[in-house]
Each structure stands twice: as C-alpha cells, then as structure tokens.
Symmetry: C2
Subunit: 189 residues, 2 copies
DNA sequence: CTGTGATGTCATCACCTGATGACGAACCCG
DNA sequence: CGGGTTCGTCATCAGGTGATGACATCACAG
C-alpha cells in the first residue's frame, strides 16, 4: 500500500509543485517561455515563486519538468494520420502547444533547453512524417517533414496566442480537418 | 534640385538612422522583437544605441519604422499564386520574415505595435487568400486564410531562426515549391 | 573667426528578472 | 511535550533592459 497520510492540505509540497507545474504549462503555452516570468507562474499557481527554486532548481528546470510532463505518454505522432493528428490536437487543447512546438519556430537561447526540446520534436513529430514521405517515394522527405512540422506548429501556436481572429475560436474539428487538408498537400509532389 | 551637400561622411544623421533601421530589421527577423535589445541593434549598426531614442523615439518607434520599410512597396500577396508567393519569398529572404509574419504567431504585448502589425497582416496576406477561398466556393474562407497564413508564417520564421535542421538551409526554390503544395491542400474541401 | 545648431558619446536612472538565503511557522516523530 | 525537519514567506542581490539627459565635438552660416 502506498501510505496515504492525508496531507492535511495546509502544507503540501506535492500540491505546491504540481500547481507550479500546471501554471507553467499554461503560461508557456500562452506567452512562450521568454515572456513568462517566475513571478507570473507563482501568481497563477497561488504559490510563492521562491518555491520554484526549491522544487525545480531554476526556471529552466521547471521548463524541463514541463517538457517531461507534456511528452509523458505522448506517442510518436504521424500528423498525416487522422487518428494521430486528432489525438495530438486534443493533447494540445488540453495542455497547450507546450514547449516542443514553440521551439520549432524559435529555438531556446539556452543550449540545454533547446537540446532536450529538439530531441522530442525530432523524434516524435519529424521522424514519423519523414518516414511517411519516404515511403511515398517523394523527394526531400526530411525537408517535407520539417516544413509540415513548422506549418503545424505555426497553426497551433497562433491558435493559442490569439494572434489571428478566427483561428483562436475555431472548433477543434474544423482545425483538425483543415490542417489535414493542408498537410496532405505535401503528398502531391 | 535636391541639394546634395556631400555629407562628408563623418557626422551623418541620415546614415546613422539608416544603419540602425537595417540592423533592427535583421535582428528582429532573426531573434524576434523581444529578444533583440537596443544595445544589440546599436552594436550591429556600429552606432551608439542612444541615437535610437533621438531618431525613433523608442524601441517601439524603431519597430514601427521597420514595419513601414518592410511593407513599403510590398503589394498584397495571394500566397496561392505562384508569382505572388515567389515575390514574397524573395522579399523575406532579403529583409527577413519581418515584424508582420512573426506577429501572426505571437502578438505583441504593446497594443499599438500589435494593431499596426495586424493591419498589415490582415490586409496584405489574409484578405487575398480569403477572397480566393470564397471564390472557390469553400466553407470558412477566413478560417482557411488564417490557417494558411499561420502555416506560412511558421515555415518562414522557422526557416530564419534555424530551429529545424534542413529548413534553414533549403533553397528558395524548394521552399517555394513545397509551401505551394502545402497551401494548395487547403483548396481541397 | 565665431557661435549656433546638429550629431555623437557617455554616465546614469528606474525598472524588471531570475536567483538566493535568512527567518518563521507548521508538521511529525519520539 | 520537545526537537528536528519540511514548508512557506520575505527581503534582497546581481545583472540586464529601455530610456534620459548632460556633455563633448563637429559642421556650417554669418
């Protein structure tokens, strides 16, 4: 049995770090890593921002933890496959176009953060698409895959940031269908 | 006749402000507005950053000036049209995916900057595409246009930032062809 | 030559950011 | 009831940012 000491809800490290992590996921998705301050995170979490240092070391550490969460249990996704794309979209609507997709557009300054992020990006999104294009006998499979990922990231990031008028409010189904049409364009040589 | 006093090349306000503007265009395109500091701009321009205040007022003013330059003489562009897309790509390779495209992904914090940018974005890129989709009798023409612009912006920003391996080094012709295939996917219902 | 305005240089300000450590309070154990 | 550990709060630091104004230097008109 896992001991359940009924953590009395007044001082609870697990709860605090959880709230910080969730707030970080939200804010990173909305504003991106740079524009999010540790004070913002603390405020949204209702937790003193100094605790970020205690539980995650640095802001970068919190980012890496968020990266782990957002990729935890997320399978490789072939964005040209309807099922995969649908699951990915649902994930993104739930936890935001987390750290991974954003770094496809603008890489991190910190090499460690970018390296960790890039691994996820490459392995989970670029690779499956590359394989798909290669199987289809198309030229430049990796370039096609990268373009597809960059385009998909553009749509998802814009959708969350609210930069464009209708995209932010569009239904998940519409976005699913239209990004499908978009990406399938890359299958026509 | 415009008097040409042969500005003796030692103290030349026009030259200084020009260099600042060009440096700003480069850096905004590479790193984005937020990650670019006025000291960076001054250093690349070889000009004291304090002159930014003199000639442009604030960093935001310099941004607006850069926005004017990068849209000056840039016609409305239907990205589904090969010629238009080619010209737009050439522009972007020359002066970077300036302020306009970046704001399609992540809006500015400053309302003034975002408003000015959004006007350009909407009028020059979204509108023509919207018309095109409407003429084709497709549903949700504006949403389609916004998705197209977000996707295009994603590709262009990523290309310049070097976040993805091959995209940064790909030839303009390849990118032209593949973004074409990509965007034309949106013409299939 | 002189002085007046334009241009460039520099020090400095106020603010924000991430990070740190001291301190107090709550919890749990015996 | 103690005593040690965990947890939360707060003040503060160092570094960087955009902005500002005083000052020095040059150009050019008179």
């Amino acid at each position: 049995m896992t001991s359940q000491p009924a953590p009395s809800r007044r001082r609870d490290a697990a709860r605090s770090s959880e709230r910080l992590l969730q707030a970080a996921l939200d804010l990173f998705a909305e504003r991106g890593y740079d524009r999010t301050t540790v004070r913002d995170i603390g405020e949204r979490a209702g937790v003193d921002p100094a605790l970020i240092a205690r539980y995650f070391g640095t802001k970068g550490g919190l980012y890496l933890a968020a990266l782990r969460v957002s990729s935890d249990g997320a399978p490789d996704a072939d964005l040209l496959d309807l099922e995969h794309r649908s699951e990915t979209l649902q994930r993104l609507d739930r936890i935001g176009p987390g750290p991974v997709l954003q770094s496809a557009l603008r890489p991190h300054v910190d090499p460690d953060l970018q390296a960790a992020t890039y691994t996820e990006l490459q392995g989970r999104l670029v690779q499956p698409l590359q394989q798909r294009f290669r199987d289809a006998g198309l030229a430049d499979p990796q370039l096609r895959a990268e373009i597809a990922v960059a385009a998909f990231a553009g749509v998802m990031v814009s959708r969350r940031s609210g930069a464009l008028e209708q995209l932010a409010g569009a239904s998940a189904d519409d976005v699913l269908a239209l990004t499908g049409a978009l990406l399938h364009g890359l299958l026509d040589s």
